[in-house]
Symmetry: C2
């Protein structure tokens, strides 16, 4: 018992108990508040901070460096850095060439468009981008979505030119959308593609993409144009007579080779070049094999004759009117969001790894502008690819110059090496795609989500199943809708928690969480854990009354309920409906003989309450406290007379002087 | 200075400082948690509570009373109550008959449908409804919206039968929608029509409705079929030659009379019967005038011959297929939501006034079932009307029997008095509508909203202008979208607030709000005021780093930053993305030599953090505290050695024993 006395806090009071006032924040004009709010909403990173107090010349230099990050690192560039960038640039080029051809096929575009897209965009990004590790080019997900969405209205085989025009126009819209997100600082839109959604979506997309490759892997010529699981599998099994054993054999061999290479690199990260070089090696070996054995005459389909030369201009191919405009804009926005999400995530990941900063809005502008330029130079949607950036980083890339090296290598290929790809078998391209997308299925991450948050798992599952059974964009929309609905539901049904006093302290905490906490007779102390607004006042009213009724039922024999204390520390905002809740509660409680007491309303809340309550109806000094402890102490002593001792809760009020 | 010493809190410590542990809540299985969550979401009022522990027979009785509230109050019904209900029933009938005819015209339906709708639905509500004051019948807003939406596809003059069929079918869908909201306990949907939206919307609708009445008030025959401000005004001024001075004179006289009556009743609530009786009186006087002076031959348009007899069955008029199904469902849902909102709001208002409880979900079922029955008996959408319920209440209604009295009166009218209305001039009906809807414009409430919450005012204005210039449903959708966007924005850009110590206490509060609060050197104490999830982790990461950078800039000369304390009392929930924020922050902060400390994570948050952190990477006892005070005290003493005194903040650590 001596120890007990020692762990007790003691409050000293002079004459009356010391009670701290809740004060509203200093007055600010509506305009000033609006300005502060807008700044927090659109400029949380305060990008103009570095300009403050600088001379004009310095400001101009900083401005130029802001728009063209190359001006930041360019002057310090040296031969040592270039050596690293050269190696990594050549490495990612060896990956980019076969992937470019494969992904273009995935988007139902001519293979050469994939190479065009690996030439111009990396050059643009090298000048505008702020990430040192991003390797730019076409990516699997955006390719898949672009192809599948455009196929809804136009067949790539029946109207190849129109299809190409739609692809370039979609790229233009994707770029414009991305850049405007950055310029308008609305980057938070891409935050709605949460990690859980992306994991589910990418796994589903990987399966869809792999299934599409069954066409080349099995050598089928008549294949479904649709993307869903069911039509693809049905066209696989309805065309068994088209299966070609030569193709299947070749496919299995190269698939095993590529998967083995991937496994080696995962096991030993130092051997990253094994998986980085494997696709190009496969292409070379398989092309030689086909050429040597004239395999194209034995049931193995090959790419066929390819154009030569660098990107032709495509400004005249942009369709800015006509019946397909709606589809093209939708495709642009969806592929734009998806590729932006990948690009920003990759950029942030490597920036965090190497401890530098990537400005999200700036990156959006860079990627957007890159795609706008791309749409005029025969490129389709590009972004920073995860797999290629990882290789880039592993290969020792130091700056965006590695993108330039890759770009130059692709240019050389386009100018001189295209005839060599004529005999490349499609089956190898299929195997390359399967190997690339299989890494998108992240089962450990899915298990982790299940363990931490069941609802996130549900969102992930929705994205996964939606992509498989509804459509690529449908699955995405369902999952985003579900996770937004969850946020709204959290607001609509905020938690109300009953608090109790932790013995020997002045601390009040959740009775359910802290078993040692005890209740104070005569008081019902609730904590409201959400902003109070139109969406939840009905619920809060009902729920509070139920708390009181339950309380009244349980304490019928004991002393009756005198005070309802609402702890408002977690009520970050309130609107006019929320104000009316307090007015209503006050009336209802008065009918029951219970007094409403508010504790620690935050700046915005106390400000609005005071403004709404000019008549001092429900906000008075005697029902407004800074802490629950002070509220209970003050109200108890008012109830039982000064200098008394509260029996339960081991709280002693001592009078000084 | 002596006083200062006295207001100080003193902490006693035995050997080491007393620090309270943050504990996770007791373990609950996923299923149990899901059950609790579902209960809070769908059954916040715990409607089955009264059934608990009752014998079976009692349970059955309670169940029957739950479905048919009439069984609750019916047995105690007596003659005294009936006398009150008779008076109030007759009063509201005198209002319901002219309003019924007028509102049906507003919906472009035959006038008699308005009377049908005042006969059957009140009877159904009397059995199922739980409000004692609701006076049921057609209302202006739902009538307007029904008419204006159906007119988009079908002309009420060219295809009157089809139009009537669509109206009944819309009523069926409205009823089904309302009832299913109640059965599925999804009543929170109507909460999204916040008070601010309703004020703006109703004011806009009142203006639209009043402008529509210019047709009858000016005696124009060729009038726009559209609802917007512009087309209506243009058709008013393009048809000046159709204006009839006799009609205008009569209109002005009766409008003045009705407005005067309304004013009298507002000034002296005891004279409520003046405005309640005025419409019927106007109808009678104007009919007599027309009849006496054969005014129909002098440019005054009259209702014309009306059918006689009570509601014919209309089950065969419900169109459940065909090309208009989409429109009919949309109309049903929108009028359903609008009429439900009015009905529930009216019920709750009077329940609060008389201190009884209205169960929202039960009311939804009652109103929904009433409309389903209505759609089979030639009625269109009905609900509890505000003006009529107010009259009902003022006239002393005690139970739903007043609805029955009104219903019987309407029946008598339908059976015997219909020929009398033949000569009723349309201009008087127009005046009755204008008088009724003018009360929907609530300028003091709008001013109040402006004073308390500028954003709510913007939402209100959006609803108002949207209704006037876009469309009735468009304005509504815009306003709901805007207010939902605000909620999402609050989550996407949560407030982060810097805390300081209030001298002489252990309380830490917003430095901006509490000017006396002081900062503790070496500590940056931030409070995060929202759940942490996918939508805000990017922002929170950026914002936190900016806080730290600003802090580092400002204290360069002083002692450097050692600890970032995140006060988590307002973080009511977290998801897997939120967890990753802490992992990332931890890494970033370690690079800067700053330690991350969490204070008072709530039940769900600490549970998920612990589950995500099996390796004890970022949640250890030494960076997890129950209060900011304990965290600062403990970390300071760890920093500077035991038994030292923190210079600033007047916090003394005393060692006992």
């Amino acid at each position: 018992m001596e120890n007990n006395a020692c762990t007790m806090h003691s409050h000293c009071i002079e004459m009356t108990m010391e009670v701290h006032q809740v004060v509203p924040p200093p007055h600010m004009s509506t305009l000033k508040k609006l300005k502060a709010r807008l700044k927090e909403t659109f400029f949380p990173d305060d990008p103009l901070r570095q300009f403050k107090g600088q001379p004009l010349k310095r400001k101009l230099i900083l401005g130029a460096q802001y728009v063209f990050p190359v001006l930041q690192w360019g002057p310090q560039y040296n031969f040592k850095l270039f050596k690293s960038d050269l190696v990594s640039g050549l490495t990612i080029a060896s990956l980019a060439i076969p992937q470019g051809i494969s992904y273009a096929k995935l988007a139902s575009l001519p293979p050469i468009v994939g190479l065009y897209s690996s030439f111009v965009p990396p050059l643009v990004y090298a000048v505008l981008g702020s990430s040192k590790d991003l390797a730019v080019g076409p990516v699997s997900i955006a390719s898949l979505v672009l192809g599948s969405m455009l196929k809804q209205e136009v067949s790539p085989t029946a109207q190849p030119v129109l299809f190409l025009q739609l692809a370039f126009t979609s790229t233009l819209f994707a770029g414009l959308f991305q850049a405007s997100l950055g310029i308008l600082r609305l980057g938070f839109f891409i935050d709605f593609l949460s990690k859980a959604i992306l994991i589910g979506f990418m796994a589903g997309a990987a399966i869809i993409v792999s299934l599409q490759q069954l066409k080349s892997l099995l050598g089928i010529t008549h294949f479904s144009n649709q993307m869903g699981l069911v039509p693809v599998l049905s066209s696989v099994f309805h065309n068994i007579h088209e299966w070609s054993w030569q193709t299947i054999l070749m496919g299995i061999c190269f698939l095993m080779l590529l998967l083995l290479a991937r496994r080696v690199s995962i096991r030993k990260p130092k051997l990253f070049w094994v998986s980085a070089g494997a696709p190009l090696a496969s292409v070379i070996i398989s092309t030689l094999l086909v050429f040597a054995f004239k395999a194209q005459n034995h049931g193995i389909s090959i790419i066929g004759k390819l154009q030569q030369g660098i990107n032709p201009p495509s400004g005249n191919m942009l369709l800015l009117h006509g019946s397909h405009l709606g589809l093209v804009m939708k495709t642009g926005i969806i592929t734009g969001i998806l590729s932006l999400t990948e690009g920003i995530a990759v950029g942030r990941t490597f920036a965090a790894l190497k401890n530098y900063k990537v400005d999200g809005n700036k990156e959006m502008m860079a990627i957007g502008f890159m795609n706008v330029v791309g749409s005029f130079t025969s490129c389709y949607v590009t972004t920073g690819a995860f797999s290629r950036s990882a290789v880039n980083n592993n290969a020792g890339a130091k700056t965006a110059v590695s993108n330039v090296v890759m770009s130059v290598t692709v240019m050389v290929t386009l100018l001189f090496l295209m005839p060599l790809f004529q005999y490349t078998p499609n089956v190898v391209l299929g195997a390359i795609i399967v190997t690339a997308v299989i890494g998108l299925i992240d089962i450990p991450a899915a298990c982790n989500i299940w363990r931490i948050d069941k609802f996130d798992f549900l969102v992930m599952l929705t994205a996964f199943l939606g992509v498989l059974f509804v459509s690529v964009q449908g699955g995405l929309a369902l999952a985003v809708g579900l996770s937004t609905f969850k946020i709204l539901l959290q607001i609509t049904r905020p938690k109300t928690v009953m608090l109790g006093k932790i013995p020997g302290t002045d601390i009040y905490r959740n009775l359910h969480q802290y078993k040692e906490a005890v209740r104070i007779p005569g008081f019902l102390i609730l904590s409201i854990e959400a902003p109070i607004n139109f969406a939840n006042i009905t619920y809060l009213n009902e729920r509070t009354l139920r708390w009181i009724e339950e309380e009244e039922d349980s304490i019928k024999e004991q002393s009756s309920l005198r005070f309802l204390i609402l702890e408002m520390s977690a009520v970050s905002a309130i609107d006019t409906s929320g104000i009316s809740l307090f007015k209503e509660l006050k009336v209802t409680l008065e009918n029951k003989g219970v007094e409403l007491v508010l504790v620690n309303p935050l700046a915005e809340v106390i400000e609005k309450l005071k403004r709404a309550d000019e008549a001092n109806d429900f906000i008075r000094v005697d029902n407004l406290f800074l802490t629950v402890g002070e509220a209970v102490a003050s109200l108890s002593s008012a109830m039982k007379g000064q200098s008394s001792t509260i029996t339960e809760g081991a709280h002693t009020i001592v009078s000084c002087n």
